[in-house]
Symmetry: C4
């Protein structure tokens, strides 16, 4: 019950975040293809952020699937994550409008970094309340991706002062790393089902 509303609220906020980013793609006054050219960096940054929000929704979805009850701690850790996610449209618009200038690119990475930290905090709170034997704790395992991402974001932030392309490349890399579907939880649930089926037989 509790959980349902937490999911519904998070879904709502994520749906709005992913959709208001499109408002940054301002309708041009011209009516030829030339009029679309200034929009190219805006659209590229939109695509990258769309994928990032999609990844967060996907992982959030899998993580909350394992949650059995919601504490005040979890509620606020989730709200904290939503706060950082809500800043993604701003930095997306900023890098798009300034053609991936160094400082906006570093800020973009910074917001991604804080999102990663907020996600990790939420994960810790859920595991803490559900115990080390919970599905999530086991599914996460060593959480290599989760530990690697902040390091890569930091690398991307530093790289922005050298080259925006390098910085952007690192952010794209992290996105691809997560796009490879995070089947850890799915695999564990599958495994558990098989064990139960074996017991019954």
């Amino acid at each position: 019950m509790h959980k349902t509303r937490l999911e519904a609220f998070s879904d709502g906020v994520l749906a709005i975040i992913i959709t208001i980013m499109v408002l940054e793609i301002k309708v041009p006054h011209g009516y030829d293809l030339e009029a679309l050219r200034p929009l190219v960096p805006v659209v590229i940054s939109y695509i990258l952020s769309f994928i990032y929000v999609g990844i967060y929704w996907n992982n959030h979805h899998h993580m909350l699937y394992t949650v059995k009850f919601v504490t005040g701690d979890i509620l606020w850790a989730n709200m904290h994550l939503l706060f950082w996610l809500s800043l993604i449209p701003f930095v997306t618009g900023w890098i798009g409008e300034n053609h991936f200038a160094p400082i906006p690119m570093a800020c973009y990475g910074l917001v991604l970094l804080f999102n990663a930290i907020a996600y990790t905090i939420l994960q810790h709170r859920i595991i803490k309340s559900h115990g080390p034997d919970s599905i999530l704790a086991k599914a996460i395992g060593k959480d290599i991706k989760g530990k690697l991402s902040p390091v890569l974001y930091l690398a991307g932030i530093c790289a922005a002062s050298v080259s925006s392309w390098l910085s952007g490349g690192i952010y794209v890399l992290v996105a691809f790393m997560w796009l490879v579907p995070d089947r850890r939880i799915e695999v564990l649930l599958q495994h558990r089902k098989e064990q139960e089926a074996a017991k019954e037989a």
Copy 2:
């Protein structure tokens, strides 16, 4: 469970897409009927896109009704469809502001084409995971509408260079083709119920 949240997120995104389009109908400064005249093409494009998003919601609703479980593939195919749907407000605003100029009209068709492709990919992923005997696979059948639409969109894109009216007419035609309610899945579910009732008797 899984499916519920996928539907909820898609509903949220679709509800926002259909509603933010209305923000393009900017409140005029004048207060006579004359002030409304520049809005006529904006409103016409809004109506057409409203119907298109409505059709997608309707078909998406019917398609997901047949889904029994959600895989990572389905999640991302759905996200891909939402991406293309999210570009509809942009092209709608563009054709509205430029009184259906040729290049915006072609771009409008292009976005519709990519939506149709993304929808077909989602359909294929669901059928692939649910098997050729699934309700969806049977309900789709030869999928004449689904195969005809991309061809008509292409025709509309090409027609834009000749006449915006012809191009727009083709897009309206496709919308009407889909507005005729897609009862295929409903019919099959009905048929199945009758068979079950017959068995019981």
Copy 3:
């Protein structure tokens, strides 16, 4: 199942409509009370429209509560209602920005009129599919409010050419008429419960 998603989608659209209206209350540049004065008509129009959308949500909620299955007809009649509701923010902004000028006031009434018509169509479609013995059919009864509203909206539209205050007064009157909670369906459900309890005893 079907119904749940129809409700969820309508809730989403209504929640967005009611909230984006607040975007018309533009943040003033000044920082004294004087800066708020131009916002007075905008806020008044916002309050009226907020109440109207609230009434529609409330009645929609009660009406769909009686629905047992959803047909293609109902889906599209609902979409048609959502279309007219989505135009409320536009006319609200228009009357607010132009201090309730006659033509914007008439347009406001026109959009309310079309909303009332769309609501009536949806009601008819539900009753048609659920039969004259359905809860809704009985609860509606003679539907005096539903028949009176369009007449009053028409009166308000005509009155706009004479006096904006008269016109606005009529719209406020209709809102109050509906604000008196529409307990018809509640009463009938209550009645049914009592009958069942009587049978059991």
Copy 4:
């Protein structure tokens, strides 16, 4: 059933309110850190309002958890609360744009005050319909926080004429007071469970 849709609608409106506030953080044209400086007060006001809306969502969530049925009174008391919550983005934008000038700060407090009043009305309506023995009535108890908040908001409004910092400090204080998780309802539910477990043993 009834309750589910009330929650869903409120979640939708709250999710949109919390997210459209971010639209006030306008993408700057510059691309250096200097360009971000004018945004500092906007971001600070966003954080405060984000926390306030989060608190309202959290408390609303807990309060509705205890609700067993929804009356017309509750529906409209909830709508009234949503109205005042919908004004938060406006006053947030106003204090942010004017660097916490006295009159905007007082208006911010005024909107918070009306939110507190609307929340209290909703609480009263729920308790009135569910009886003095309801979970909510017991969980609220003396409702010290609920009675203290309006007094503090009033203090903040008055303090704005002396010092914006004092006024802001009071609003932050109230937020912190509520951020301490409102475990009253959780505690009572826990207590009830234990009693039931004791009875069974």
